[in-house]
Symmetry: C2
Subunit: 565 residues, 2 copies
């Protein structure tokens, strides 16, 4: 007898589960329920349709119900919502919105793929028709209608992935854009210093950014919205996009008595099975294994959702498939910059008390002698004991996606920094370097583990720095013209061999340069001459990213084409 | 007492060894001998300077002798050649070309980094002054001089990496270009079918290509060169570039009695140490461990040379560093196409009798709904037993470098196709897809290993195909207009569920579509209805690449913007 599977939710995880199930079991009865009018739409593409880069709305619809019905013999029911599950009787009560009626369906298995819903905080004035969230095509249509009504200004509340993508796309449509973010940084999953180049990019694109402040209320003033911030400032806008996070859409699961955590995220085992063996759950509503640290994590992203859907299908079809966990590999383009992350952030490691080392580097994304090389700022986090890669973050103008994927694979497969050093990657001048940034990251991390170098980090350079250390600037003379670190001694690297005896021996020496490359050489030289020498990690560029002082402008932030090494 | 190290050869491996040695041992005496006038130049950039993309010659000089001398305290001697090694006395006899004298230096260690020299076959007329090889800046200058002398036409002999890069750069300078390659394909390290898109790209760029033929002689005709091919054809050119391979420049090593293989490649252990423990050897003259198959391999590439130099330095400095082996990760840009490879090619696996599976796919390099998606053709080779990734090749217009690096890391770390399937990679619409091509490669390979699909490969579709199999084309009607496979039955995939009974049951069915994606769905459906069904791997596009028949044009070859899936 054929199985009957009801899939609740027809986007990433649900659609993947349905298609895979059909391929594995052509006899199964597969019912796909979707509350909205569309299934399998490109939710990650919505901001780009708002900005006009994706021109046609129908490009966002990857598969129509008719497509899927014909191609896979799926029973697709849009505008049908699963309202309740009777786990004892194994039935689902379904609301048919078109016919305005409820009915029941028996199931052998359910796959819950309800996703996550945008948070809409209960602020005064929040129900203004021009205050939007963005989850689906209907939301997209609503935002586009607001834009068409002669909007000139937009306020984006929340500076995460979707917020920044909307900022970019509103600017693309020539709106004046203001961004408000509660935290003192954009892109909350990232470590703060890695977001400075994005902040500078927002400024360069005339975006007004308010960090560390929240909206307290919205008021209507002649059809426009005025947002009052907790700083007291007011921002007027024709249109507001609220992108302050999402919450698991797990009401159905909770009502059915499935195990959820205190935040309402559905608990599943490694087979993506909920606490009821006949009910699987996948995607943005689900708590999964943390791929790096012990315990669970909640990472609502499209890639994991798709793979989880596939795994649930495999298990329902009688195979033994397990999900390895999520690690938060993600990427965002912000105008001409790209930021990407994988694995655990430093702030999480610190908070969890996990021992870690960190290194920074700022190589070109390909060899400097080939035109168009752009610096990328790389942060690598790894275990002090064995060099296991724990996480990485990168920001730059080009080549960011390629390197983050390599770090992502390293994190997932528990590779070490030594493996990165030895990676044999493809090199021709337009694509990289004989020693790729990924190799360099491995070299530097290996040097730290071997004790060949010790770092001082920019956040340690406080007002007492010159009392604790002799700061030694080893850059060339021309570089001093634009920026100089106060109180630092200056001996250019090429002169250091002959002049090192000018350096006082009473204090440890911290060497510094633009990116941390030459300061490492200087450090090695001084250490072998009896000095206690440390290198300023990431150089003065990273110092700028940490302090956001204009003293030391970063080449990624300031569009200087090439980083000196 | 400080060590004295003599490094023979000052480009990739030698320069890396010198710089690393200095960082590890500031007291060591490091003498760098370079026969030519330049050290540490960008040999991979030479073709791009000839084409003008790298405008200034000095951009190719990464470090001048003076730079290195000042910065690292190295004793750099250009135009000095090591002529003999007395291993017993531990001395090197050195020729100083400027002073026209020989002298001796004692050593504690030698690092041999002599590189490889372009082959110059002993053909009649080979010494014509406008017949060039390309190894260094002097060769580059000579080619540029030939170009400046009003050259209109160029002949490139040899269609490997450097040959194709020169073809592109000569075209960039508006020369008429002819390419002659002895083998029936360009890019000899690649499997033949993966080079068809490059061949089509050469044609699209008005390059005349002669495959499977060699030059027999060169004659001078009024200052121009006339090459006579073994086919009898003649090609006249103002300039010839010979890029028919390189040979290890191991004369010094051989004369010193170091172990070499019959092809003259220096034999080293995993520490990069030659048969004399005081002599290390790195780079293009050295035989190294094969990173994938048992035994040794010779892979003259810049990345391995650089890492080997570093490893030799570590060992000389008293550390224990081992080289993991080379796997031939490489990439070439040919006009608007890029081809890349890593690990073992199918032809090598076949020749060595290593069991393997292969799969093909042709996804977009990012999601299709975001503008600019370009198809990439991916070939993945893996072990039938456990799915270990053995090799991969990719050709396409964009995103090739990123995926080959992921496959390269997989090959090196002995990951399996299941690891590829589960890789959590960075996704936003401009950068990839929720299921990246690398994930898809893992899915398809996993399907093959699980027995969910069996493939027929285009090379198996001979004239008797329709006798052995029922060929079933499942594409849409519009696609049949431009190309049709002779003798194939046609049922579009969406109709297959209702019409499958039209398919005869007397023979196995081979399903086919454009790229192998829909044919897989059809296969799954038919298998579950009792048919013995197989899917045409890579679809009709791969069929074109294998047969080079114009019947089934490939979207990579024909610039069709998007592959139907």
């Amino acid at each position: 007898m054929s199985k009957k599977i009801i899939i609740v939710g027809g986007v990433a995880g649900g659609a993947s589960a349905a298609a895979r199930l059909r391929r594995l079991d052509d006899q199964a009865e597969i019912v796909l329920l979707e509350r909205g009018p569309d299934i399998s739409f490109a939710n990650c593409g919505l901001p780009y349709h708002i900005g006009g880069e994706i021109r046609r709305r129908r490009q966002l619809i990857l598969k129509t119900p008719a497509d899927l019905q014909r191609r896979f013999g799926l029973d697709i029911r849009t505008r049908h919502e699963a309202r309740a599950i009777d786990r004892h009787a194994r039935t689902v009560t379904i609301r048919d919105y078109a016919e305005q009626r409820d009915y029941e369906e028996h199931y052998d298995y359910i796959v819950l793929a309800p996703g996550a819903a945008p948070v809409r905080p209960p602020l005064p004035g929040i129900d203004h028709p021009r205050i939007h969230t963005l989850r689906n095509l209907a939301d997209t249509d609503a935002i586009k209608r607001s834009l068409a009504d002669d909007a000139r200004t937009a306020l984006v509340v929340g500076g995460g992935f979707i917020g920044l993508e909307l900022v970019e796309n509103f600017r693309r449509r020539d709106l004046d854009v203001t961004l408000v973010e509660r935290l003192p940084q954009v892109m909350p999953p990232f470590d703060s210093e890695m977001t400075t180049p994005l902040l500078d990019e927002l400024h360069r694109n005339q975006v007004t950014v308010h960090l560390g402040t929240s909206v307290e209320r919205f008021d209507d003033r002649d059809g426009r919205i005025v947002a009052t911030l907790d700083s007291g400032a007011q921002v007027a806008a024709d249109l507001v996009a609220l992108t302050v996070g999402v919450l698991p859409d797990s009401g159905l699961a909770q009502a059915a008595g499935l195990d959820v955590d205190p935040q309402g995220r559905i608990i599943v085992d490694s087979h993506m099975r909920s606490s009821d063996p006949h009910i699987y759950a996948v995607g943005d509503a689900v708590l999964v294994r943390d791929a790096v640290l012990p315990g669970s994590t909640w990472i609502p992203l499209a890639g994991p959702a798709n793979r989880q859907g596939r795994i649930a299908a495999d298990n329902i079809a009688g195979r033994d498939a397990t999900y390895r966990g999520s690690q938060g590999t993600s990427i965002v383009r912000v105008f001409e910059r790209t930021a990407a992350a994988t694995g655990v952030a430093e702030k999480t490691l610190a908070q969890r008390g996990v021992p870690y080392h960190k290194i920074y580097l700022m190589p070109g994304h390909h060899v400097g002698y080939y035109p168009g090389a752009e610096p990328i700022l790389v942060k690598l986090l790894f275990a002090p004991e064995d060099g296991q890669v724990l996480g990485a973050q990168i920001v730059g103008a080009a080549g960011v996606d390629k390197r983050i994927d390599l770090f992502a694979l390293a994190v997932q497969m528990r590779l070490t920094v030594h493996d990165l050093a030895e990676a044999e990657l493809a090199y021709a001048p337009p694509f990289g370097a004989a020693k790729d940034p990924v190799n360099f990251a491995g070299f530097i991390a290996g040097n730290l583990l071997a004790g060949d170098v010790e770092f001082v980090y920019p956040e340690q350079l406080d007002d007492n720095a010159t009392q604790r250390w002799t700061l030694l600037d080893v850059r060339d003379e021309t570089e001093l013209l634009t920026q100089r670190y106060p109180g630092a001694l200056w001996i250019p690297l090429p002169k250091l061999r002959e002049r090192y005896q000018e350096i006082p021996v009473d204090k440890p020496v911290v060497t510094l340069c633009a990116t941390g490359h030459r300061s490492y050489y200087a450090c090695r030289m001084l250490k072998q001459r009896g000095y206690q020498a440390l290198s300023l990690a990431g150089g003065l560029y990273l110092h700028h990213c940490v302090t956001r002082s204009d003293e030391t402008a970063c080449p990624i932030c300031s569009q200087t084409p090439n980083s000196p090494s």
